[in-house]
C-alpha cells in the first residue's frame, strides 16, 4: 500500500484526481498505520543537548556603512571639507596616513584611532588653493603697492629702519604672549649721516650691537611690558646714539695711538722709519717734528704709496700669510730687491 502512495505522489495532474478519491477512501486506514509507527520508535535521551547548540542562531550584525573617507569624490572642494583648524579626524581625511611607533617588521599604525595623529597640530585647513582663495577674498581691502618701491634696494633706500616684532597665536585661555612685546630695530650704519669721528663714536656707543660684516646695527628692547613702549624706546635709543655721536667732548682729544680702532699709518712709527730711511738714502739728515712726519708726502718716495697700503692692510686686516707676503713684496720694491722666486 505504501508503494502505491509513493507512486501517486510523484504523479502529474491526472493523478491528482485519483489521489483525492483515494484519500477519501483510505482515511481510516492511514490513521491506523501512522499510529503504529510512532509507537515503534525509541526516543533518544539527548543529555548534552548537542542538537540545540547547533541550532543556536548566529547573531548577524546590522549592515555598516562604508567609511566617509572612502566615499569622497576625488574632485571635491577640500576647503569645504576642512574649513578651519581642528584636530585630526580620520574619516574626514581621505589620505592613507600612518603615524606612531613602528613595531619591528610591521607598518606604522594607521590613521584610525591614532592618538599620535590627533596630538600634532595640522595645517589641513591651509592648503595652497585655500590660501589663494582667501587672499583673493582679502584683496578687495588692500591698497596698491607703491610703484617706485619696485626693488629691495629701493625699499632699503626709502625705508632704512627695519622694525622686527613677533606675533604669537595659540589656543590657550589667554591670547597674550609676553614674547610679543620684544621689538628689534635694524638699520644699516651706512644709511646714517655720520662723519669719520661720529661713525667711530657711534660704533663705540652701540658696542657689540654693530656687526661690521653686514654693516647692520641691531637694537633690541624688551624692558617695557607693551610693544608700543618698546618700539618708542628703540627709536629713542637710535636717536640718542646718533646725536651723541655727533657731540665732541673735550676729553676725546686725549685719544692716543694705542686707543685707535684702526691703524693709521700716517701717525705711526712705521711712517717715521720710512721717512728716516728715505732721508738717509738721500744723504740728508734732518730732524723732523711729529707734525712734519705725519704730513710728509709719501708719493715722492718711489714705491712709497704701495708700501703704505701694504703696511696698513697688514695691520688692519690682521696678520696672515697673504698680508705678510704682500708686505714682503712692497718692501722688496721699496728697497730695490729682486722679488721672491716662485718655486716650481
Amino acid at each position: 500500500m505504501s508503494i502505491f502512495i509513493k507512486y501517486y505522489k510523484s504523479g502529474g495532474l491526472n493523478v491528482a484526481f485519483s489521489n483525492k478519491i483515494w484519500r477519501y477512501n483510505s482515511t481510516s486506514a492511514d490513521m491506523a498505520i501512522n499510529k503504529g509507527e510512532e509507537e515503534e520508535e525509541f526516543r533518544v535521551l539527548d543529555i548534552l543537548k548537542k542538537r540545540q547548540r547547533q541550532q543556536r542562531r548566529v547573531n548577524r550584525r546590522a549592515d555598516v556603512q562604508p567609511d566617509r573617507a572612502d566615499r569622497m569624490p576625488t574632485d571635491q572642494n577640500w576647503g569645504n571639507v576642512w574649513p578651519g583648524p581642528k584636530t585630526f579626524h580620520p574619516s574626514s581625511v581621505p589620505l592613507p596616513l600612518r603615524q606612531g611607533y613602528v613595531p619591528k617588521g610591521q607598518a606604522p599604525p594607521g590613521k584610525k584611532a591614532n592618538a599620535e595623529l590627533m596630538k600634532i597640530p595640522n595645517f589641513l585647513h591651509l592648503t595652497p588653493p585655500v590660501i589663494k582663495a582667501q587672499c583673493e577674498a582679502i584683496k578687495q581691502f588692500c591698497t596698491e603697492w607703491p610703484k617706485l618701491l619696485n626693488s629691495e634696494e629701493a625699499i632699503e633706500n626709502h625705508y632704512p629702519v627695519e622694525i622686527i616684532t613677533s606675533d604669537y597665536c595659540h589656543a590657550s585661555p589667554s591670547i597674550r604672549n609676553p614674547l610679543a612685546r620684544i621689538v628689534t630695530l635694524r638699520v644699516k650704519l651706512s644709511t646714517l649721516k655720520l662723519d669719520q669721528h661720529a661713525r667711530d663714536k657711534f660704533i663705540r656707543l652701540v658696542g657689540e650691537r654693530y656687526d661690521p660684516e653686514t654693516d647692520l646695527v641691531t637694537i633690541t628692547a624688551d624692558r617695557c611690558p607693551i610693544r608700543k613702549q618698546n618700539q618708542d624706546y628703540v627709536n629713542y635709543l637710535l636717536t640718542a646714539c646718533y646725536h651723541e655721536s655727533w657731540n665732541f667732548e673735550e676729553w676725546e682729544r686725549e685719544k692716543m695711538e694705542e686707543d685707535m680702532e684702526y691703524y693709521n699709518w700716517d701717525k705711526n712709527p712705521s711712517k717715521r722709519s720710512l721717512v728716516n730711511w728715505y732721508l738717509k738714502t738721500q744723504n740728508q739728515s734732518k730732524e723732523l717734528s711729529d707734525e712734519e712726519y705725519s704730513n710728509y708726502d709719501v708719493s715722492q718716495i718711489p714705491n712709497g704709496e704701495e708700501y703704505k697700503v701694504a703696511v696698513s692692510s697688514y695691520m688692519n686686516d690682521g696678520e696672515s700669510e697673504g698680508t705678510v707676503e704682500k708686505y714682503g713684496e712692497a718692501v722688496r720694491k721699496l728697497l730695490g730687491l729682486p722679488q721672491k722666486k716662485v718655486v716650481s
Partner: protein, 371 residues
Amino acid sequence: MISRSWRNLCRRYSQTVTFRTTESSPSQHNEKQIGLFYSVNHDLCKQLFAYGGLPKSFAKQTKTFTETAIMVRQPALDLIDCIKASDFNKPVIRYVMYGEKGSGKSLTLAHLLHYAYEEGYLIVHVPWVSEFLRRVPRHKEMSNSQTREGFVDLPLDVAAWLLHFKTQNQVLLKNTELKISRDYVWSKRESTVAGSPLSQLVEHGINRVKYACDVLDALVYEIKQLSNSKQCKTFVAIDGFNGFFCPLTRLHTPTKKKVKPEEVTLTGSFLELAKNDWSNGVVVVTADQLALPDDHQDSYLPRYLLYKKGFELLDPFVPIEVGRYTDKEFLSCASYYRDRLWLRGPPEIETELKFTSACNPYKFMEQCAPL
C-alpha cells in the same frame, strides 16, 4: 768583505747623482741645487759653530753622520740673491726669517753664515738670544751695571759671546787695519787708546770679564763706524731675535725682582745693531716661537712674534718664510737619510713618513731616528 766594499762603492756612486752637490761654496749655489746637500768643511765648521749656531739636535746628527751636510733651500738662495742685489751705500736692510717650529730657520742662518764667511764679512752672530735671557743655570753670573743705572750685566755670557765673536772672525781680526776710533777708559789703570786694533778691544773684554758688557757696547759702536767708513762689511745674524721683546726674562735680581729684557745691557747693544742707522752691512734675524714663553706661541708670523716694539724697530724689513719641505726636498732628504742609514725599510715607508711628519724637517728627522 767584497760585498761590503761593493755596497760602499754603490753608495758613493749614488751620492754624486741624486742628492748631493759637490759645490761647497754657498756663493755659487743656485736654483739647480735646491734640495741638494752640500757638506761644510770640518775645520770651518769648528770655527763658525764651535760655540753654538747649529741646533743641538742637528749638531748631534752631524756627529752621527760624521759630516755637516746642509741642504740648499729656497729661502737661503733668495736671501743671498737679495744681498747680492742690494746697495751697500744705503742703510742696512733687515731680513726677518720666520716659519713654523723645526722648519729650518737656524740651519738656513747657518748656511748664510757660511756664505758671509766666504764673502769676507765681519760676522756678528748671536747663536740663540734666549741663551742669555731665558736659560738660567744654577749659577748665572749677574751683576748690576757699573756704568748705567738700573741695568743688569751678564758678564760671563757676554765674555763667552766675545770669544765666539773672536773665533768666528779670527782671520779678519788679524787684520790690523780695523782700528778703533775712540779712547776707552775702563779704570784708572786700564784703557784702550784710539787707533789700537779691534782685536785688542775684544781681548780686553774676554780677559777682564768685569768690563765685558761695556766692551760689547764699544764693540758695537766701533763695528758701525768701521762699516760706515767701508773698512769692513758686517753680517749681523741673530737667532731668536724676538727673545729681546718678550715681556719678562727668567732672571731675578737679588731682591727677587723680575728683570725685563730691556733692563739687560746686552739687549740694548744688540738692538742697536738691528737699527738701520748704519750702512755697508746685512742684518738677518729670525723670529722663532721657541724664543717666547709658552703662552705666546699661537702664530709663527713675524708681527705676532716680534710684538709691536720689535716690529717698529725692524720695519721696513724683508720677511722671508722658511717653510716645510717641498716634494723634491723631501725625497732628497729621505735618500740622504737612507744613505746615512738613518732611515731603513721598504720604500713605501717614505710616503707614510711624509704624511706623519707633514714634511716638517725636524719632525721627519725625529721620526726617522728609531727606524
